[in-house]
Symmetry: C2
Subunit: 151 residues, 2 copies
């Protein structure tokens, strides 16, 4: 099951790559196992620094379910969420977060801000890391290697 | 000058209150002193947990200036930004943040996640706190006191 949902997130990351975006993808899954929303990173095409895959998928799921709080929903994302996305995950009351690759440079869960470890967080989801890590990391490594070549 | 811009942010907070939202307001000011964008909290009306005043004002400013990065722009906000908003402020490369009341419960700058104090932040703006603090705090205190009365 984990792999199936992460593959959907990886498919979103691949689509993001094809649009020239940093390849990160996310999927919101409801408590009955249905995929509610899916999104890839769109910061460049939208000219919106908040348009990370997680933010877009969570906003979409809230719109569909007509609620501010995704209680009982899980998030699958190819890369460790940054502090902005992690704090939104807490605000949205996501139950479980499954992520692929760790992000020592910008991650906000297992490093840096460690969003869920302070009393200012309104909620702390369960965290499962390393799912589909290799594929997620490969997409990102190739993207940044190509960027450097283009310079 | 600080007071003028903060008063604009306070006006947005008051409008948010009138809409039944948590009264927080924000204004983005360009390098020449012009107000580029203004917004109040809209999490309830939009059913969007990301729709904090700061997020809406930054997204609006990026759309108007057609850029992902608000280099040289300042943000005035009535309450200490939460971790989500602080991380977006870093992503958007906001130059200076002026905020009113501190937020021991949800703040992410001077407490908890302390977003700008880790090497994972992509940028650390200058921070000025306590501007228009009393008015900002009063709006919030009244809002939550009324909420409790209604229960």
């Amino acid at each position: 099951m984990f792999t199936t949902y992460m593959n959907e997130a990886l498919a979103e990351a691949t689509k993001a790559l094809e649009r020239g975006e940093i390849p990160v993808g996310a999927v919101v899954v409801g408590s009955s196992g249905n995929i509610i929303a899916r999104a890839g990173n769109e910061t460049r095409s939208r000219l919106d620094p908040s348009a990370h895959a997680e933010v877009l998928a969570i906003r979409q799921a809230c719109e569909i379910l007509e609620t501010e709080r995704l209680v009982g929903c899980d998030l699958y994302v190819t890369l460790e969420p940054c502090a902005m996305c992690a704090a939104l995950i807490a605000n949205a009351r996501i139950r479980r977060v499954y992520f692929g690759a760790s992000d020592p440079k910008s991650g906000g869960i297992q490093q840096g801000a460690r969003i869920f470890e302070h009393k200012q967080t309104h909620h702390a989801p369960e965290i499962y890391s390393g799912i589909g890590e290799e594929k997620a990391a490969k997409l990102l490594t190739n993207f940044f290697a190509n960027k450097r070549k283009q310079k």
